[in-house]
């Protein structure tokens, strides 16, 4: 295969997610009463970025053929933590931001250490650690609220607009891709994560540092979920230890990852695809409002679109020549 065709095939999932998102967003904006204005884009961006960040984190782990069912709970926990420590003068609040990110790193690292050295299955490990993180979140915020001297300047800036109408949240997302995803993807550790996800045994045999790869996958997942939690704090000005919200973000992040062309079997896909998957998933939810349908039908609509989207994955069945390949 020619080089560019190979590269195109590699990015097919990402491009498909981008196409789905663009299509939905165009429909959304064209039907929106206010049209394509900076306000509409800003609101959509702020909402979409939350899921996009958690989905990016989920991608890291899914690429290593694991799964992080605690992603939503880290998101909630860091949100609650942020509502306490992003307070006071701006330098203090910035220190708080660093604290929130560190907390996310620690949560992710804990997941990784248990999975690697405890040799437990990721799915049950992260269910259990998710319960712990949620417990801590609930301890911090038994009721939704924020600290008395919450620094809303940072929050307003991070959720506001740059001159020219570009939402800061989108810029922040872009920066995260540049600072976290691209270096990771191009590093030896990133390669190792892909290799581990493709075939752990083969990776082990070829001397790939599996343990280190997995550790960084989980740790970065925690960090990205924490950035998501930080953004939730910026948007709502408060922390809310909501079990339902944590569970929803975990499940939606998996859905977004799949929509974004990342294989749940590991080793295939990119976080950029997951971002578009997340944005597309968010837009599905908003579409009904602009179509003036009863909001009661929104969950059903979202569910059916999700069901159809995952069934598209079944198209590969037509390429199967040998029945045995079904069970590979």
């Amino acid at each position: 295969m020619k080089d560019w065709r190979y590269r195109l095939a590699e990015q097919r999932g990402t491009l498909l997610a981008l196409a789905i998102f663009l299509f939905m967003f165009v429909v959304y904006v064209s039907k929106h009463p206010a049209g394509f204005t900076a306000n509409v884009v800003q609101t959509a961006a702020n909402k979409g970025v939350l899921l996009a960040l958690v989905a990016m984190g989920q991608t890291m782990v899914v690429l290593s053929a694991g799964i992080d069912l605690s992603a939503g709970m880290i998101f909630i926990f860091t949100n609650c933590l942020g509502s306490y420590i992003i307070a006071g003068s701006t330098p203090m609040a910035l220190l708080g931001v660093v604290g929130v990110l560190l907390a996310g790193l620690v949560c992710g690292a804990l997941n990784g250490l248990i999975v690697i050295y405890g040799r437990l299955q990721p799915i049950v490990t992260t269910i259990a650690t998710g319960s712990i993180y949620y417990g801590v979140a609930l301890w911090l915020r038994p009721q939704p609220g924020n600290s008395d001297n919450f620094n809303s300047d940072i929050a307003d800036f991070m959720t506001g607009r740059l001159p020219g109408g570009i939402p800061v949240s989108l810029v922040a997302l872009f920066v995260v891709v540049l600072v976290v995803w691209l270096p990771f993807r191009r590093s030896a550790i990133g390669r190792a994560v892909y290799a581990t996800g493709s075939s752990e045994v083969a990776a082990y045999m070829s001397g790939v540092p599996i343990a280190r790869a997995k550790f960084w996958a989980y740790t970065l997942s925690g960090l990205l979920s924490a950035i998501g939690g930080l953004y939730l704090t910026f948007i709502t000005y408060s922390g809310d230890a909501s079990f339902a919200s944590g569970g929803t973000y975990t499940l939606y992040s998996i859905a977004a990852v799949v929509l974004g062309g990342v294989s749940l079997f590991g080793g295939v896909g990119s976080a950029v695809g997951a971002i578009f998957g997340a944005l597309a998933f968010r837009t599905i939810g908003d579409l009904l409002f602009v179509f003036d349908l009863d909001p009661l039908w929104q969950p059903l609509f979202q569910g059916v679109v999700l069901l159809l989207a995952v069934c598209v994955g079944a198209a590969r069945l037509f390429q199967i020549r040998n029945r045995l390949d079904l069970f590979a």
Partner: protein, 320 residues
């Protein structure tokens, strides 16, 4: 030198033995706090509460043995409860058919899951998630987002809260019968053996002549049906269905199955272990709440206990 245990003991799965040992330990620790924990009334009450989780975990176990997972539990439970209550509101025939109708709805959703996994080859984690979203959407659209006003039929309340013989709760009897049926299915029927075979290697099972796709689809239908049935029991217990009534059962049911020594990768596990896992989780939740531990502490301890127990016996083998 290893000590040779007597034959009956040698056959005991260490995971199951550890799980039962942990149950005893929990009860002993509890009894230090209050003697009530060893009273028959308390234990029976716990078994009754456990039987709701037990019914769901049975379905979950069938699916996990295949190496799959069913994340559609929360809203299939709600569908079962709500549809059975809705049928009850439709006159005499509705009341009579309430339980079968709720069951049927769950089985249909399970069949959709199973069709997606078996024939469309979609990863179970994502198709069951989508079916969960659809079930939620259907129920929100049907109820208008409020808790439905229809109440549970007498039969549902009787099964969930009544008792026929010797003060044994009916729910426990139902779970016992279901468990006996499941053990029979796993050990004595070709369908049950096929589940284990597929969980080990679907390819090999297919080559040895098993219609693996049909088995997988039926397994998901069983899981859906049992979730819906548990929803009916829960609706009978609270005498009506509620939004999000099943949310609290997804993770505990997975945890119960895994704590019982069933491999999440499929193909390995026994039903007796699942029973132990269900009782363990229920007891843990109950003891923590009786000790008036606050919710956050319960969540944290719950997480640590699951990890701690799995570290005792649920570890994978080292790569070689």
């Amino acid at each position: 030198m290893t000590i040779r245990l007597p034959a009956p003991l040698r056959r005991v799965d260490p995971a199951v033995a550890t799980a039962f040992a942990c149950i005893v330990l929990l009860l002993l620790l509890g009894s230090l706090y209050s003697r009530e924990f060893l009273s028959p009334a308390y234990l029976l009450q716990q078994l009754k509460v456990a039987s709701f989780l037990g019914v769901i975990a049975t379905g979950m176990m069938v699916v996990i043995l295949l190496g799959q997972i069913d994340l559609s539990v929360p809203w299939v439970v709600a569908v079962g409860g709500m549809m059975a209550c809705a049928a009850t509101a439709h006159g005499l025939w509705g009341t009579i058919l309430a339980i079968p109708f709720g069951l049927l709805c769950g089985i249909v959703l399970g069949l959709v899951n199973g069709f997606g996994v078996a024939y469309l080859r979609i990863p179970s984690m994502i198709i069951t998630l989508a079916v969960n979203a659809v079930a939620q959407g259907l129920m929100v659209a049907y109820t208008g987002g409020f808790s439905p006003q229809d109440s549970a039929s007498h039969a549902m309340r009787f099964i969930a809260t009544g008792d026929i013989v010797f003060g044994l709760p009916n729910a426990l009897i139902v779970w016992a019968l279901l468990g006996a049926g499941t053990v029979f299915m796993f050990t004595r029927t070709s369908f049950g053996r096929a589940i284990y075979a597929i969980g080990n290697r679907e390819r090999a099972a297919y080559l040895s002549g098993i219609n693996t796709q049909r088995v997988v689809m039926i397994a998901f239908a069983i899981s859906g049906g049992l979730s819906a049935f548990a929803g009916e029991l829960l609706a009978g217990y609270a005498s009506k269905a509620a939004q999000a009534m099943g949310d609290a059962y997804l993770l505990p049911s997975i945890a119960a199955v895994v704590l019982g020594g069933t491999s999440i990768l499929g193909g390995r596990g026994s039903y007796i272990g699942t029973i132990a896992g269900v009782i363990l989780i229920t007891l843990l939740q109950s003891i923590l709440s009786v000790m008036q531990m606050e919710e956050f502490g319960r969540q944290v301890i719950y997480g640590f206990v699951i990890i701690g127990m799995l570290l005792l016996y649920g570890r994978e083998r080292r790569l070689r």
